[in-house]
Symmetry: C2
Subunit: 362 residues, 2 copies
């Protein structure tokens, strides 16, 4: 590998100082057009590539941001990541990818790493509900943003931006949909207890039960961890009950799919015998053979907004109080809730005012 050319090499050939070269390259003012052209042409000839490391050292900016994710195994995060990466690129930033596998210690190590490497900010897509690492960053004033999951810690709330879907409303919509389709015995598989998202969806669901005057049975609320396997387990447990629920709300699609597996395995017909609704509308849910009804959210857009907000904070365009952006969820009606079984074909028969999409049976 031959030696790389730097601005001093260019300076020598152009008979100017290296500062002038820097000025030309970063098209600053106070430089004669001819000099600039000359320098630029020499740079091109030498195939000059700026050294961002040196630049970062003096500018204290790396144009790099960290992305912390629990695991990309959950397809929800891959869709979110696409929005993040695409937008970051457009704004001239690169993404350092970190998956923590749900481990706070790993997260901490990653944060150390990222900060050592001088990232300008960090995106957290799966904050623990009281994540100490995030509290620390927030208190220090380091630019971060919470996406999807949030932290309820007061000092975080008053300092850092958040983008997510309105999970409370989404949970409400999911359960309401089941209720309107005539269900009274409604089971829920929750997300991990450290997740704001799971908590809020569950709360929303309960609110719906309340609103429609349906009794809440303790045994119908199962814990989960957002992974497929835990949905599967939940399904099995429901089926072991003397009186299983007639409809189930899994607080994310990934678990819903797992739950679906369990039901199929036990020979239960969906939606004839048990109705099922998820949350997220991951790509998989729309596949024929699955056709999961669910609550949709604009994942790509969420990623886009997150990056835009963070970059604004980084570049100083925004220094006001933290923003809290809640995207509207959307009811996505497919086949696992029995909407079509009931003979409904038009939204008006079953819904009022909520935003939704209907995929007619093929």
């Amino acid at each position: 590998m031959k030696k790389k050319v730097n601005i001093k090499d260019i300076a020598r050939l152009a008979n100017v100082s290296h500062t002038t070269v820097s000025r030309a390259l970063n098209n600053k003012s106070r430089i004669r057009p001819e000099t600039k052209e000359k320098i630029l042409s020499i740079a091109r000839q030498l195939n000059y590539r700026p050294n961002f490391i040196a630049r970062s050292l003096v500018m204290r900016r790396t144009k790099t941001i960290g992305l912390v994710i629990t695991t990309i195994a959950n397809p929800f995060y891959t869709e979110l990541s696409q929005g993040i990466e695409t937008t970051a690129r457009q704004l001239g930033y690169n993404i350092i990818f970190c998956s923590t596998n749900y481990d706070l210690e790993t997260e901490k190590q990653y944060i150390e790493m990222l900060r050592s490497k001088g990232v300008d900010g960090i995106i957290f897509t799966s904050a623990h509900i009281g994540d100490p690492n995030i509290v620390e960053l927030a208190e220090e004033g380091f630019p971060i943003i919470l996406v999807n999951r949030r932290t309820y810690h007061p000092r975080v709330k008053e300092r850092v931006d958040y983008v997510g879907v309105d999970n409370h409303l989404g949970g409400y919509m999911a359960v309401e949909h089941l209720i309107r389709l005539g269900h009274q015995r409604i089971g829920v598989v929750g997300g991990s207890s450290e997740s704001s998202v799971g908590f809020e969806r569950l709360e929303g669901g309960k609110k719906a039960l309340e609103a429609y005057g349906i009794e809440q049975r303790e045994e119908y609320f199962l814990g989960g961890n957002f992974l497929k396997e835990s949905g599967y387990q939940g399904g099995k447990r429901f089926l072991q009950m003397v009186e299983p629920p007639s409809a189930i709300f899994a607080t994310n699609d990934y678990m819903a799919i797992g739950l679906y597996q369990a039901l199929v395995e036990e020979g239960v017909k969906v939606p004839e015998e048990i109705a099922l609704i998820g949350f997220n509308d991951i790509e998989l849910s729309g596949i024929k053979g699955i056709d999961l009804s669910t609550i949709g959210q604009k994942k790509f857009e969420m990623g886009t907004i997150a990056v835009e907000l963070l970059v604004k904070r980084i570049e100083g365009g925004e220094s006001g109080p933290p923003k809290e952006i809640l995207l509207k969820p959307e009811l996505v009606i497919r086949k696992t809730c029995g909407y079509y079984l009931k003979g409904y074909q038009k939204e008006s028969e079953c819904l009022n005012g909520v935003s939704f999409k209907v995929y007619p049976p093929s």
Copy 2:
């Protein structure tokens, strides 16, 4: 944000020179244990965090590698990425994530970026068959590795490592499986023509037809681009034929799923009327309701090997001729080929010697 502490701050407090601090921090020799302890304890107290940028500048190493992917939308890449990220972390490297969306120009820009930021090496997971960007890097001797897809360019072949599955064999196995189940009219949906992977799988498939003396019909070989939609299109086209194939090999699962959609939409029963086999064994394929028979490959392991190999090159542990590592594919029998319909339950009735997995009907 308060000022960050650096080694000079520590030096001042410890009454030593900053070089000594550096020695202590990087536990080099030639330092008195007491001095070292003292420095380390002060560093801890001040919550010192090393500045990797400064270090990178002088060491010409960033402990960062670039990962170039077409799109993470294809689940195959997410599984691969997990192996890559996990291993990188273990070896002390971070990953800068770049998705090119199949665009060579974007790829080029990313490479520029990555090199400007001083990454130590780059992993390419989806090289175009004659990718000029890669040729350039190879010629320059910059550390890169090809994963999954490769380039046939001679100067790349003689210089850069490659890890992938034996696609030729895999394609052979897929088609052979169909043949053994009695199919004679076998259709193939290929991958994009710029991909070595698609090409090799197709070649393998043709070899199988040849080996079993089955006539190759031109119209049964359809082009594709590895995305779901193109599988869907392929399915529709097959069904419009006067004599559609009785079995189809989609050169990846993602297309197979799309194809499956098309068949279902047209009311075709799989596998009774048309058998279907894919390639990759992505997670989705194993889901009940899909149960796609396919050719499996160890994606996580592929990522692991890639990183290990690249890091060896970077750190100088390996400087011999390029390695070419071909992982063994594995036949994964589920329900879309009709294996169980035929009454087969044991491998021996249908297979000889190939590595495979059977998932019995549930």
